[in-house]
């Protein structure tokens, strides 16, 4: 395995991202040292490389990546994984608002709590939150799945159109067009496989507590259900 270390100290996000894109062509793994909660790290990275951000990242970490596997050892700010299409973003700490905003594919994992509007307008892919998720999680969600191991705050699934939000803890309140359903046994098995894969060892009883938030209607604001493609 070929690895390169990039020291982010005294560098701008643009300089770091250019260096990462160049290095990704010749290395299997890139470590960004001293990130100091900098914004926009790894924006637009399209090479399928392993990247470790050795500390906290700021806003829009790994936005629009396509295929990279990103591991952030610290926390992340707003919008980690924003609009990514493929790959993986794993955050060991907590994260701010809009985790996985608008993702088309791939997986975003946050081990601790996250802020508000998790997975807003996401089209596909998977978001896993090890702690609690804030206000309006799944806002205008259009596909994919969000899995929250802890509690989910007010207006969960606000205006959700498609997709599923799995919640292991309390659901404070539902948003418009959202309803709660029980899980099928097959879904529990899928969750177990997925969560174990990302180092969330849950007791069997915990899986029994999961409920899911799904849309009441695919056309909640105008049009007919029959028009839904």
């Amino acid at each position: 395995m070929k690895e390169l270390k990039i020291n982010a100290q005294e560098k701008s996000p643009r300089e770091i991202n250019r260096a990462v894109k160049q290095a990704a062509k010749e290395n299997d793994r890139i470590v960004i040292e001293n990130p100091n909660a900098m914004h926009y790290l790894l924006a637009g990275l399209t090479e399928p490389v392993d990247v470790v951000i050795d500390g906290s990242a700021g806003y829009f970490a790994a936005t629009m990546i396509h295929g990279a596997r990103v591991h952030i050892n610290g926390n992340a700010g707003w919008f980690p994984g924003d609009n990514m299409t493929k790959g993986e973003v794993i955050i060991d700490g907590s994260a701010g608002d809009g985790v996985g905003q608008g993702i088309y594919g791939g997986t975003v994992v946050v081990h601790k709590d996250v802020g508000s509007r998790t997975g807003e307008i996401m089209k596909n892919g998977t978001i896993i939150v090890g702690g609690n998720s804030g206000f309006m999680s799944g806002l205008f969600m259009m596909g994919g799945r969000i899995i929250v191991l802890g509690d989910i705050s007010d207006d969960a699934g606000e205006s959700i159109i498609r997709g599923t939000i799995y919640v292991g803890g309390e659901i404070k309140s539902l948003g418009k067009n959202a309803k709660i359903e029980e899980l099928e046994e097959e879904e529990r098995s899928e969750l177990k496989e997925l969560l174990e894969n990302y180092d969330f060892p849950l007791e069997e009883s915990k899986y029994q507590k999961f409920r899911k938030i799904v849309p009441r209607s695919a056309r909640p604001f105008y049009g007919q259900e029959s028009e839904e493609g």
Partner: protein, 305 residues
């Protein structure tokens, strides 16, 4: 956009709070390049009834003397200092001895009547430093790194609605009660609904800036014996728009965030320090940030010493 920050040292002892706040604001510089400001509490060491005035004076023959005469006619000047600033202005800083706090605002309004002169603030228990430009330049100009204190709030400004000048730099201060300041990131969209009742009560607005509206609102609530926590909680219910703001008082710091959570706010706390800011990058300058909390929509937090 704007960056906001606050820090409290829980032991009530003097710490290099100016150095820490300078670092916090420098880390938030990308959120606003127009101006920056500090309210550094607890380190001034003034005697009872002593107040420090910061007066912006244009470099013009005879103008500074006119200001000094105006102040001295009302109250004796105990000490003074001149700090060079930019754009042909100086900051004239003088210490005066008043009979009571109620004389402060009338004195400020009287000095403000002089053309090309503006009193940036008058305070007893905190030092206000605010100016146009970048944090590092302002910090060097005012030696912020040498300032001691117990707690502080600060701001980097990205101007949206109102003018870029020293007076509109944050913190804003109210004189409804002594030594209350606010730094703010966002907009108060029901501004007139908040301002009107305050003006009907006789509170004086100097600008059309919504941050001034917040500081008068909080000061008015504290004057009615609300606790800082209660005032912050009520403000979140009464104010509309995207905002997060930090309040500084002589004995604490608080933060509040709008009900939709449209502006950022994070906090971290340990046995020694309570810190709040727009972003983690500022908290990292004062403490370990392995565990930080996101301030939730509609939430407020405060720490008083």
């Amino acid at each position: 956009m704007c960056g906001i920050a606050g820090v409290v040292f829980k032991d009530k002892k003097l710490h290099p709070v100016g150095k820490f706040m300078t670092r916090m604001l420098n880390a938030l510089q990308h959120r606003g390049p127009d101006s920056a400001g500090f309210a550094l509490y607890g380190g001034l060491g003034l005697e009872e009834h002593e107040y420090l005035l910061n007066i912006e004076v244009k470099e013009k023959p005879g103008l500074l003397e006119e200001v000094k005469t105006k102040v001295e006619t009302a109250f004796p000047i105990e000490s003074e200092e001149i700090i060079p600033s930019v754009e042909n202005y100086i900051i004239y800083r003088c210490k005066v001895n008043l009979d009571s706090f109620s004389q402060l605002k009338p004195l400020i309004m009287d000095v403000d009547k002089i053309d090309n002169v503006m009193v940036l603030n008058g305070a007893h228990s905190f030092e206000m430093i605010k100016d146009v430009g970048l944090v590092k330049d302002i910090a060097a100009r005012y030696n912020t790194e040498d300032k001691m204190g117990t707690h502080a709030i600060g701001h980097t400004r990205f101007s949206t609605e109102s003018i870029v000048d020293r007076y509109h730099a944050h913190p804003f201060q109210s004189y409804i009660i002594p030594d209350i300041t606010v730094v703010h990131n966002g907009q108060i969209t029901n501004y007139w609904k908040i301002r009107d009742p305050l003006e009907r009560k006789g509170h004086i607005f100097e600008t059309n800036n919504d941050t001034e509206c917040i500081v008068h609102y909080i000061a008015d609530k504290l004057a009615q014996d609300y606790s800082l926590e209660e005032a912050l909680e009520q403000s979140v219910k009464d104010m509309d728009g995207p905002f997060s703001y930090i309040v500084g008082t002589p004995n604490g710091v608080g933060i509040a965030k709008d009900q939709l959570g449209l502006r950022p706010g994070v906090m971290a706390e340990n046995d020694e320090v309570f810190a709040v800011a727009s972003e983690e990058v500022a908290l990292r300058e004062v403490m370990d940030t392995s565990d930080i909390d996101q301030i939730s929509p509609g939430e407020s937090r405060a720490y008083t010493i």
